[in-house]
């Protein structure tokens, strides 16, 4: 029994490792085919050939591709992701700064997405064809179709520049920039750890707008999915049976219909969260948010494979991690899978 569990675990770990290795290999070899010379990120367009060749050699780019890949994987396993060519910093150091910034934003966004999206989806299903349903549809449609870039800019003009309700681009006002010690990389949590409520509220005032705009997109998606899952359940015969049993309409919805869509809903939410964690490049750009998405795209445009590979690895781990977590939640939520 225990042996089979171990075997199962080993198989799972093996498949995760293979997936990640495959992902890295694919990115690595595709990256090397890009028509961009990564050396130029360091030496610039004006450099002569000797300078170029010196750096080319220093970076090990003169070695065969498979050797380069082997050396990369070897270093990576010891925790060394190398230097990001386009920032000059160690990739690992960069990531400890940009990744928490994105996780903080994505978490804020998903809370809004789930907190509003799920109830809205349920209400839209229950009151199908009513005003609530129409409102939900319009809200959802706008969320799908408005570019985040435009929404961000409009949001900034209205809530930051005109009304002054929220902080501007960036994670904090300049005045607070050095007020807290970086513990976790999450501004809000670090401020609370330092017991500095001024900084905390300032951080919140900066995250609320980009977070809400990203959250709006997630909300649109989650509410539409919730609605369709609910409608599917509500058309089932057991719903009638439950009503006949004497349960109130809302009790049926809550205890039967909603409960039955939880498994599907968890998948939808996990995917929405993973999508947010990949980084929302445009939102990050408008809000000068030093996050993961912006980092990944800047690395890609500079042909900086050290940065790109580390980012791809993280995205891979996020997806696999969330998949595993979803599997686990399935077991908790759906007795049939136990």
């Amino acid at each position: 029994m225990r042996l089979s569990l171990l075997k199962g675990f080993a198989r799972q770990a093996g498949s995760v490792a293979t997936t990640l290795l495959g992902l890295l290999a694919l990115t690595f070899f595709m990256g090397r085919m890009l028509p961009v010379d990564p050396v130029l990120a360091i030496v610039g367009d004006q450099a002569d050939q000797a300078t170029h060749d010196m750096v080319y050699h220093q970076l090990g780019l003169d070695q065969p591709l498979y050797v380069q890949f082997y050396l990369y994987i070897h270093a990576m396993l010891t925790g060394d992701f190398g230097n990001a060519l386009f920032t000059g910093h160690r990739v690992a150091d960069d990531l400890t700064k940009v990744f928490p910034a994105t996780v903080e934003l994505a978490t804020f966004a998903i809370i809004i997405g789930v907190g509003i999206g799920v109830p809205l989806g349920v209400l839209a299903a229950v009151y199908r064809g009513s005003v609530i349903d129409h409102i939900a549809r319009v809200v959802g449609l706008l969320g799908y179709s408005s570019p985040a870039f435009w929404l961000g800019l409009m949001g900034l003009i209205l809530f930051y520049a005109t009304l002054g309700w929220v902080g501007g681009p960036g994670r904090l006002d300049v005045a607070y920039m050095d007020s807290i010690e970086p513990h976790t990389g999450f501004m809000t949590i670090d401020a609370l750890l330092d017991g500095d409520t001024d900084v905390f509220w300032n951080a919140v005032s900066h995250i609320v707008l980009p977070g809400s705009i990203l959250g709006y997109g997630s909300m649109a998606y989650i509410s539409r999915m919730t609605r369709s899952f609910m409608l599917e359940q509500m058309a089932q015969e057991y719903m009638v049976a439950a009503r006949v049993k004497g349960l109130s309409a809302w009790a049926v919805i809550r205890r039967h219909a909603f409960r039955n869509i939880l498994v599907q809903l968890v998948t939808v939410i996990a995917l929405a969260y993973a999508f947010l964690l990949e980084g929302a490049v445009l939102t990050e750009t408008v809000f000068a948010w030093p996050g993961f998405g912006h980092y990944l795209v800047a690395g890609l445009l500079a042909g900086d494979m050290n940065a790109v590979l580390a980012c791809v690895l993280i995205v891979g781990i996020i997806f696999i991690g969330l998949n595993l977590l979803t599997d686990l939640l399935y077991r908790l939520l759906d007795p049939r899978t136990r």
Partner: protein, 542 residues
């Protein structure tokens, strides 16, 4: 009950958002003793003066963090004024250049800075061999002899032995004024923190990358990639004490966001605004827009190895397809001044504005030149260009005019790194690209855009844009070398004039405009020194 539960959940979610919004009404203005600048910090990769090869890094470091041996006079960049060196002299044979350093130079920690530090800093730039080293190696300094060529004679005297008697004003302008290699770094700190790989010392490169220990008004105390750079005042600086205790440069990559921050007063200076945002700020009396003509040119590089573009008449025809006057009013406001000459206005020896821009849109003339060249019906060519900024608009504009005389230009936009790679590999027919001259002297452009010692592919002189086009004139090579050694300023200027007048019609480039750098700042900021090369913060107050 259940209905209430759902409703409560819904409203609670909305309420939590509203609640989060409410305490955030207060706005913090920028601190009195700090200058807050918004910029794009994407390109920053190093602060080591020996390694810096891009514009933003040089802008931050030169004369803000590392004062150079000599400087340009802010009112006339062709004149040289003292920096960390209080005086300089040339030997009668012109083969020795001596700098006398100030006696009150100190690093931020209070340690005195000496001629030994200055000599070591120059030597290491050559020894490390990064791109900046060419600022010295093109004047005969080389790795093998550098420790003999540049030496400290005593605590305050640096002596440089030259291989040829280059005119002192040219040499000072090119290598020692506003040039990152002319910084004084701490030798002790550099050697203490040096890392050795494969038996080769990095002379403190990895250490200085994130913050050089230099003689200058500020020092770098923080640099988070793609986020922020903080400069702190150096209280041991020899010059007048800067009013601003800190300079904070924030990464705000989006123009509209910079504009909002500036209007709101959350930043003092915006350095990356697009034309629409600048136009919108024009009427705001709290904001001043300073437009500075830079020593940078945007141009079409025409690959002369191509049989069609190799014909000088075809290249001349293309110059008549650029609507310089039309561009001035449409695409170029806040961006540039039309100019067809390779040497930018303001440099020593440059043609004046009128002479430097003899072309105008003339389809009939272009057609006539094409007919003379044997292409009366035109031809098809590909043009590669950056997807950023106004490049696509400029390219489209030229392609539209070209189509009228039968030249079909296929435009291909790409990321800058890709564009540069293609240029250096000579992998283009026509490339729309830019180049910044390192110093305000005709030689800066002539030596890169006109002088080509070896046009063969295998020569790989990739750092020379003229090599990338495959063009060569041995006559121009000889004239440029003679000008480099001419001691009489008037004669030297006349020689550059001669070269420019030839290149403007026969060279491999069609220059389009000289770059303007617009900087918008709140009028509460005073004394902010903005020059064609550098922006200096030490004199700023608010």
């Amino acid at each position: 009950m259940s209905r209430l539960f759902m409703a409560r959940a819904f409203y609670a979610a909305i309420a939590s958002v509203v609640l989060l919004l409410s305490p955030a009404t207060g706005q913090a203005a920028t601190p009195r003793d700090a200058l807050i600048i918004a910029w794009n910090l994407d390109a920053l990769i190093t602060f080591d003066p020996a390694q810096i090869g891009e514009v933003n890094g040089a802008d931050i470091i030169i004369n803000n963090v590392c004062t150079t041996l000599v400087r340009y006079d802010p009112n006339d960049v062709t004149k040289i004024i003292p920096g960390t060196a209080e005086s300089w002299s040339s030997s009668p044979d012109g083969l020795t250049l001596t700098f006398k350093l100030r006696s009150d130079l100190k690093f931020p920690d209070g340690t005195p800075a000496t001629a030994e530090d200055a000599a070591w800093s120059l030597q290491r730039a050559v020894l490390l061999g990064f791109f900046s080293s060419s600022n010295l190696t093109e004047w005969g300094f080389n790795k093998d002899q550098i420790t003999d060529q540049i030496q400290a004679a005593d605590d305050h005297t640096v002596v440089l032995k030259l291989s040829k008697p280059y005119p002192a004003p040219l040499l000072l302008s090119a290598a020692f004024a506003n040039n990152n290699v002319a910084a004084i770094l701490s030798k002790a700190v550099g050697l203490k923190n040096a890392k050795t790989t494969d038996g080769k010392s990095d002379l403190g490169n990895a250490f200085f990358k994130t913050g050089p220990v230099c003689v200058g008004p500020y020092h770098v105390t923080r640099w988070d990639a793609n986020d922020v750079v903080v400069l702190e005042r150096n209280d041991n600086y020899f010059g007048p004490k800067p009013a601003m205790r800190r300079i904070i440069i924030r990464h705000v990559p989006e123009s509209s966001a910079q504009r909002l921050l500036l209007e709101k007063g959350d930043i003092d200076v915006a350095r990356l605004l697009n034309t629409d945002d600048l136009k919108a700020l024009e009427s705001n009396k709290d904001i001043h827009i300073e437009q500075t003509l830079q020593q940078g040119m945007q141009y079409l590089a025409l690959n002369t190895n191509d049989p069609i573009l190799g014909n000088p008449k075809v290249r001349e025809a293309i110059r008549y397809l650029i609507d310089y006057d039309g561009l001035k009013d449409t695409i170029l406001p806040y961006k540039g001044v039309p100019r067809a000459d390779l040497v930018p206005e303001g440099a020593f020896g440059a043609l004046n504005r009128k002479e430097g821009q003899p072309f105008s849109l003339d389809l009939a003339k272009a057609k006539q030149l094409l007919t003379e060249a044997g292409y009366p019906d035109g031809f098809s060519k590909k043009m590669i260009l950056s997807a950023n900024d106004i490049s696509p608009a400029i390219a489209q504009h030229i392609a539209t005019n070209a189509a009228k005389v039968g030249i079909k230009l296929e435009l291909e936009q790409m990321a800058d790194a890709n564009l540069f790679t293609r240029g250096r590999n000579r992998d283009f027919e026509i490339q729309l690209v830019g180049w910044y001259a390192g110093y305000p002297d005709g030689n800066a452009m002539v030596s890169r855009h006109a002088t080509n010692p070896d046009p063969r592919m295998e020569a790989k002189l990739v750092g020379l844009p003229v090599w990338r086009t495959g063009w060569q004139s041995t006559d121009i090579n000889a004239k440029a070398e003679a000008a480099r050694l001419e001691q009489d300023p008037e004669k030297r200027a006349a020689m550059y004039r001669d070269i420019q007048l030839y290149m403007i019609h026969n060279g491999p480039m069609a220059y389009i405009y000289q770059v303007i750098r617009p900087i918008a700042y709140r009028t509460s900021v005073k004394g902010f020194e903005i020059g064609p090369f550098r922006v200096n913060y030490e004199s700023a107050t608010k």
